[in-house]
């Protein structure tokens, strides 16, 4: 999975900046996507491309349980969020709907990957290749069940028993 990185060098990116409250009344996902990250980066919509990744610090997605947050990012074209850690409700929401991959990374990936770098995420090997900088980093493997839910395409397509 290849794409370019949009980097937010900070911790605690909350769901209120990912999709501000006033847009939670919007049902059309394409319209919702127009407001993704608006609380933090009003230029996000103009710079994001299909297949991009977001890179950020600790506790990404903290705050509200609004599933609109991973939906807005996903419908903007974001395929994965790479972060040092995730708030759990955001993580579950991202996986449940198979909206995007929440990938936990280590400090070396966080520090070395820059805005605009092209990276290649290989889930089968748990590695991230930085094609721009010719570096390779490890990612935290998904637990078995998370991997299976993602493979199946979400909570409702996964048959556990």
């Amino acid at each position: 999975m290849k794409g370019n990185v949009i980097k937010y060098e900070r911790d605690n990116i909350d769901t209120d900046v990912i999709i501000p409250g006033q847009y939670l009344k919007i049902h059309d996902y394409a319209e919702l996507a127009l407001h993704a990250m608006e609380g933090l980066d009003p230029n996000f919509h103009s710079k994001v491309k299909e297949g991009d990744f977001i890179l950020s610090g600790r506790n990404f997605g903290c705050g509200s349980s609004r599933e609109h947050a991973p939906i807005a990012l996903s419908h903007s074209g974001i395929k994965a969020v790479l972060a040092l850690s995730f708030a759990r409700i955001f993580y579950r929401n991202a996986v449940d709907g198979a909206f995007l991959l929440p990938i936990e990374i280590e400090m070396d990936a966080y520090s070395n990957i820059s805005e605009g770098d092209e990276i290649d995420i290989d889930i089968s090997n748990n590695t991230i290749k930085n094609l721009t900088k010719k570096q390779t980093y490890k990612m935290k493997p998904f637990s078995e069940i998370i991997g299976k839910i993602i493979e199946s395409g979400g909570l409702f397509k996964y048959k556990p028993i």
């Binding site: 911790d11 605690n12 409250g21 609380g39 349980s65």
Partner: protein, 486 residues
């Protein structure tokens, strides 16, 4: 399986005690498989207008019904106007969400406390006051502050819309077992009218951080917790999510049982339930917590948040910190403080009590219950708000509003030039017309000071209801311990 552990010294099997959380968890397991999430039974599902519509769409698309409409309870709170309810809702998108919830509840046979109901209110305020929230049960809702119900010894947590659909369809949820986290609150507050439950929970989050509880269920224990009323305990559990925890819990006691006795939906066999709860709903003395944190509250001060997450909080007697104060942490902490001060338009070193405010919001599922309004009214009584401040009270429910009006509390607020509104989430999350204008600074009794939370460009300082009331009077933050009560 959870009963058995191996001691490290002699490798013999010993029986370990369980925490309250583990007891509730074990009682709700439907399917358990090693190294996998467990399927957990959900006793009550609370729904509201914002996070449920797509879940009902999903049910219809897949020709599924609601498995237990009798265990599903709905209200509208997030985007309802707090002005005259007899008038039509001007915001068309809000009106559509409200009508959609009405239709969904009708189609699927779910009890709804609608905008005209005497029982309408913020979902986390009405659950307990109607006796829907019960000790030892599991409660979910598509709202992160579902942790509030933990004050009753209830395992309760927020979920997303896909999971709302899953619970509607199956009354269960897949869940990795969180780790038990003990937070001990020890000691006695010197000024309990001025140093409140809000100051206790803000102090905890300030110390353990906004991700300090990630992956855990917190059990709050100690004399500092048992001293609190039920409404104060709800304030504590409500903000567990601001520490990143899945849920917060307090073991039920006589105060809990008294609170729930004689509510509208209190079960008929209540006294026999109480007997059962007394025997079962407590952490065993030899139970083991994964993590422990202790807060001593003898000398804690009223708290005021200065930044853009609830962990960025200090004593009212302190000054705004400098990003340099965070240079011991990593780069992101210092940068986070810089960004927060820039957004909040605050200079390091100025006293918290020098910060002038434009707006005051007394409301939200954190602090809009009757006691909150009574305590704030004691500060307000006989005084007027500062001429440059606009202040509003949004009671947590229609029942809270009526009880306050019966006590004449509304008059105290309106005499002081506060606006007295209808119940709902209101300015806590900026989904209805009650929002801050860009640049406005608000003393708010809510739970989140994130950028733009109360309106684009709005600046939120989290405080207790008495601190918000004092700030409304003076026009800037003041140490409410120094104010006379009227």
């Amino acid at each position: 399986m959870n009963l058995v552990a191996y001691s490290s010294t002699n490798q013999s099997k010993i029986i370990m005690g369980k925490t309250l959380f583990e007891k509730i968890w074990d009682a709700h397991i439907v399917v358990e498989k090693k190294n996998n999430p467990s399927l957990i039974y959900i006793d009550r599902h609370l729904i509201h207008e914002v996070t449920s519509p797509q879940a009902f769409d999903g049910l219809r698309m897949n020709h599924r019904s609601v498995r237990r409409p009798d265990l599903t309870i709905a209200t509208m709170d997030h985007n309802v106007p707090t002005t005259d309810r007899s008038l039509p809702i001007l915001d068309q998108t809000s009106a559509i969400q409200i009508r959609t919830l009405e239709k969904n509840c009708k189609d699927f046979g779910i009890q709804l406390f609608d905008i005209t109901s005497h029982d309408q209110g913020i979902v986390h305020v009405i659950g307990p006051q109607l006796g829907i929230t019960l000790p030892g049960t599991t409660i979910v809702c598509g709202d992160s502050h579902t942790s509030t119900h933990g004050a009753f010894g209830t395992l309760s947590f927020g979920i997303g819309t896909s999971e709302v659909e899953h619970v509607l369809a199956s009354q269960t949820l897949w869940l990795d077992k969180p780790k038990p986290f003990e937070i001990r609150v020890e000691g006695k507050r010197k000024n309990p009218h001025a140093v409140t439950a809000k100051d206790i929970i803000l102090s905890i989050i300030k110390n353990i951080g906004t991700a300090g509880g990630t992956g855990t269920v917190i059990e709050y224990r100690g004399d500092g917790i048992s001293d609190l009323s039920m409404e104060q305990r709800m304030t504590i559990c409500n903000m567990s999510i601001e520490a990143g925890a899945r849920a917060g819990l307090i073991a039920p006691d006589e105060k809990t049982f008294d609170y729930l006795r004689d509510r509208k939906y209190t079960p008929k066999n209540y006294e026999s339930l109480v007997d059962y709860w007394k025997d079962h709903l407590k952490t065993d003395s030899d139970a083991k917590f994964e993590k422990i944190y202790t807060l001593h509250i003898d000398n804690i001060a009223p708290q005021v948040s200065w930044g853009t997450n609830p962990g960025m909080t200090c004593d009212v007697t302190e000054s705004v910190p400098s990003p340099e104060d965070f240079s011991k942490g990593d780069h992101n902490q210092k940068k986070g403080a810089e960004k927060a001060l820039e957004y909040m338009d605050l200079k390091p070193g100025i006293l918290i009590t020098e910060i002038k405010i434009d707006r005051v919001f007394i409301g939200s599922c954190t602090n809009a219950r009757l006691e909150d309004l009574i305590e704030a009214s004691k500060i307000i009584k006989g005084r007027k708000i500062s001429p440059h401040v606009r202040a509003m009270v949004v009671p947590g429910s229609q029942m809270v509003k009526k009880q306050a009006e019966d006590l004449g509390i509304d008059k105290i607020f309106t005499d002081a030039n506060f606006e007295w509104r209808e119940s709902g989430c209101s300015m806590c999350l900026g989904m209805n017309p009650d929002i801050l204008s860009p640049g406005e600074r608000c003393a708010s009794t809510s739970n989140r000071n994130f950028e733009g939370r109360q309106g684009t460009g709005g600046r939120t300082h989290l405080v207790s209801p008495v601190m918000a009331a004092a700030a409304a009077i003076e026009g800037h933050f003041v140490d409410v311990r120094k104010m006379d009560l009227n």
